[in-house]
């Protein structure tokens, strides 16, 4: 055992045992972030904060929630919402937080696409981020079932039914997922387990991995500039803070994030207290009833675009049913973002507006996703069905054409 000298201060005492001084350097004061950034770079910290709020509010809800088809609805709407002191506040934070976290995820994700922050060494950041997106989707979907309202039930019914379209194993798979032939108590209890244990564990792991993946390629910056971090860090440490291209995570980077967080939280709490219907659909305040189908069934807003990609294919093409085509398109939509680092064949890391072709691609994608989201909620009748089909087709074409567009862009850049 190494020799210990008696510590002169508490800090030294901990440093001897845990190496806290070095740890703080590595994690905070000498963790370098580019200086050339805007508030979009604060979304990661916002997401960390939102996840923490979801975790904490979720723990409080867990103390009173009862995962049983006969008790779930009242345990939420009576016990938590009306009996437990500030139970309503925890539920509102949890429900609104779960919805808003997707808004920030989407901003975070499209910031990454816009600035090309997924290539040239940053592939693992992108992959781990998309993994988190998938885990959050599963977490959102499983959590939505728990209040056992009409939309909990019917959205679960419709979404689990989707798996029935998979060839050969579809029907068995649906029963395996539900634990019954229809959405029932077994479905609720297993989704409860997934929501409060398995998926959160996976999310925690994926968050750590996502942060770790940032360490080597470093965070991208507003211009997509590559520079020597060690040189810039030395400059900073030598006192030339103004000319260094980097800033330390603490306190410089976080001071900006805390401000962004403050502004965000004004908006967030406005939603929590005064405008929560978008996250807590009124229909879900009717208790689940498997014999009474609601007039309109739709998933939460953040799933609408992929739901519409699925729904857009409503007629048979070349002997393949609309349902099968939709399922294929849906599968495509759910993995294709993961592959962006390899679909973008241009080596340029620059914001989209400085890329001659990609900029059109990016904004058309944005518009298409908005159309998909909108028509994913509207009833799929008459012209709506055709708009949905067009938007779904556009989505596929956009991603299939991305390698060619970016290749052309690379060639054009090469000629200059």
């Amino acid at each position: 055992m190494a020799k210990f000298k008696k510590a002169d201060s508490m800090l030294e005492w901990f440093d001897q045992r845990l190496g806290v001084v070095n740890f703080a350097k590595v994690m905070m004061t000498e963790y370098w972030i580019p200086k050339n950034i805007n508030f979009l770079w604060a979304m990661g910290v916002l997401l960390t904060m939102l996840f923490t709020m979801l975790l904490v509010s979720g723990i409080f809800l867990l103390m009173y929630y009862k995962p049983d088809v006969n008790m779930a609805f009242d345990s939420v709407n009576y016990t938590i919402m009306q009996e437990v002191a500030y139970g309503w506040l925890f539920r509102h934070i949890h429900a609104v937080g779960a919805s808003v976290v997707f808004l920030i995820i989407y901003i975070h994700m499209f910031t990454g696409i816009y600035y090309g922050s997924y290539k040239k060494g940053r592939e693992m950041i992108w992959i781990s981020g998309m993994l988190l997106f998938m885990l959050f989707s599963a977490e959102g979907f499983s959590g939505y079932m728990l209040p056992w309202g009409q939309m909990s039930y019917w959205a679960a019914y419709v979404i689990t039914e989707i798996f029935g379209g998979i060839p050969f194993i579809g029907d068995d798979l649906v029963v395996w997922i539900r634990g019954n032939f229809y959405v029932a108590d077994a479905t609720l209890t297993r989704f409860f387990m997934l929501h409060v244990l398995l998926i959160p564990l996976a999310i925690l792991g994926a968050i750590v991995f996502h942060f770790y993946s940032l360490r080597f390629p470093h965070v991208n910056n507003e211009k997509g500039e590559f520079f020597d971090y060690e040189v810039e860090a030395e400059k900073y440490l030598a006192g030339d803070k103004k000319h260094s291209k980097v800033i330390p995570f603490w306190p410089v980077f976080l001071s900006k994030d805390v401000f962004v967080m403050g502004v965000f939280l004004i908006f967030f709490f406005y939603l929590v207290f005064f405008h929560y219907d978008f996250a807590m659909d009124p229909i879900n305040f009717d208790k689940a009833n498997g014999l009474k189908t609601p007039a309109h069934i739709y998933p939460e807003w953040y799933f609408l675009w992929s739901y519409e990609v699925l729904r857009g294919w409503f007629f048979e093409i070349a002997g393949i049913s609309g349902k099968s085509l939709g399922l294929m398109a849906f599968g495509f939509a759910n993995v294709i973002f993961l592959l962006i680092p390899w679909l973008d064949r241009s080596p340029t890391v620059k914001p989209a507006n400085q890329r001659p072709f990609f900029k059109y691609w990016f904004w058309i994608l944005m518009a298409d996703l908005m159309v998909l989201t909108e028509f994913g909620k509207l009833p799929p009748t008459g012209p709506n069905a055709w708009v949905g089909f067009g938007a779904s087709l556009t989505f596929l074409v956009l991603f299939l054409s991305l390698p060619f567009i970016t290749k052309m862009e690379a060639k054009k850049a090469g000629r200059k």
Partner: protein, 292 residues
């Protein structure tokens, strides 16, 4: 400046999407309906301009109504238990103690004249279905006599206070024969089995209806259920605007009991965040001065 531009782009994209999936989509799924009519102008079988005579009304009520209806307020108790009454009539006939207060006079007069047309239940009670509404029409009665009955019911109507207890009394008189309100411990006076036969289905528990339907929907729905839910077996009840407001207020007091707490705490939390954001801005400026 650039940051404001980015923020503007995000706000516009999010704003358009929000508008599309919330207000717009809901307006498509739930189109606006005709405004609520609290004067019930569509039924005009009785000339309601006639001034009623409460004393004569009392005689008429005692001769025609109390064989089936209790009027506790006037000392006429129910003639049989709720279970027996439901078994006899299909549904427990209402105690008329509140009738003069909660029902619109025009509606009430026309209801006495012909209940089925006043309640908009012609689709349920007609020659084809062979079903008979338990209360007979008094379409043979002189309009003056009907108005006398209305005047009498108004004269004895129980007054209630404008608070939770008063709202509860109105709710029970208007809705309590058919609907449960589990979160308030209210059980429909008609047993569920009878209701199922009488209505075709057990009417829903109203504990969370203020949340699932919302005030706007309830405002139209309670006034005339057929407007929003064509073919429903729920009758038009004929509540005055005030009585309906009391009913909805009670549904909110039970279904959304923390509303006042939410609204007041919300302002404090937002004010706190404004101060927080301002201080954070000052701190950020101080820190970034060194690096810019």
């Amino acid at each position: 400046m650039k940051e404001f531009k980015i923020l503007a782009v995000i706000l516009i994209l999010v704003g358009i999407t929000y508008y599309g999936i919330e207000p717009y989509a809901h307006s498509v799924m739930h189109p606006e309906v005709a405004p609520a009519d609290f004067t019930f102008q569509d039924v005009k079988n009785v000339d309601t301009k006639l001034t009623g005579n409460a004393a004569n009304g009392k005689t008429l009520v005692e001769a025609n109504c109390i064989a089936c209806h209790a009027i506790e307020a006037a000392g006429n108790p129910a003639v049989m238990s709720n279970a027996d009454a439901a078994a006899s009539y299909g549904v427990v006939p209402p105690d008329l103690s509140h009738a003069g207060r909660i029902y619109d006079a025009n509606f009430l007069a026309n209801f006495v004249f012909d209940p089925v047309s006043a309640m908009h239940l012609q689709h349920k009670y007609n020659a084809e279905s062979g079903k008979q509404f338990p209360m007979p029409s008094y379409n043979w009665m002189a309009p003056q006599d009907i108005m006398d009955i209305v005047a009498y019911l108004q004269s004895i109507a129980v007054k209630v206070t404008d608070d939770k207890a008063g709202h509860k009394a109105t709710f029970e008189a208007a809705c309590g024969r058919c609907h449960n309100m589990q979160y308030a411990g209210i059980e429909a006076t008609t047993p569920a089995d009878n209701l199922k036969t009488y209505m075709g289905t057990v009417p829903p528990d109203l504990s969370q209806y203020i949340k699932s339907r919302g005030e706007h929907y309830l405002h139209s729905f309670v006034n005339d259920p057929q407007v929003l839910l064509k073919g429903t077996s729920m009758p038009r009840v004929g509540l005055t605007e005030k009585a309906q407001e009391e009913v909805i207020a009670y549904m909110e007091e039970i279904g959304d009991s923390k509303k006042a707490e939410r609204n007041s705490l919300g302002l404090w939390v937002m004010a706190y965040m404004v101060v927080f954001a301002f201080l954070a801005y000052l701190w950020k400026r101080k820190i970034w001065e060194e690096v810019h």
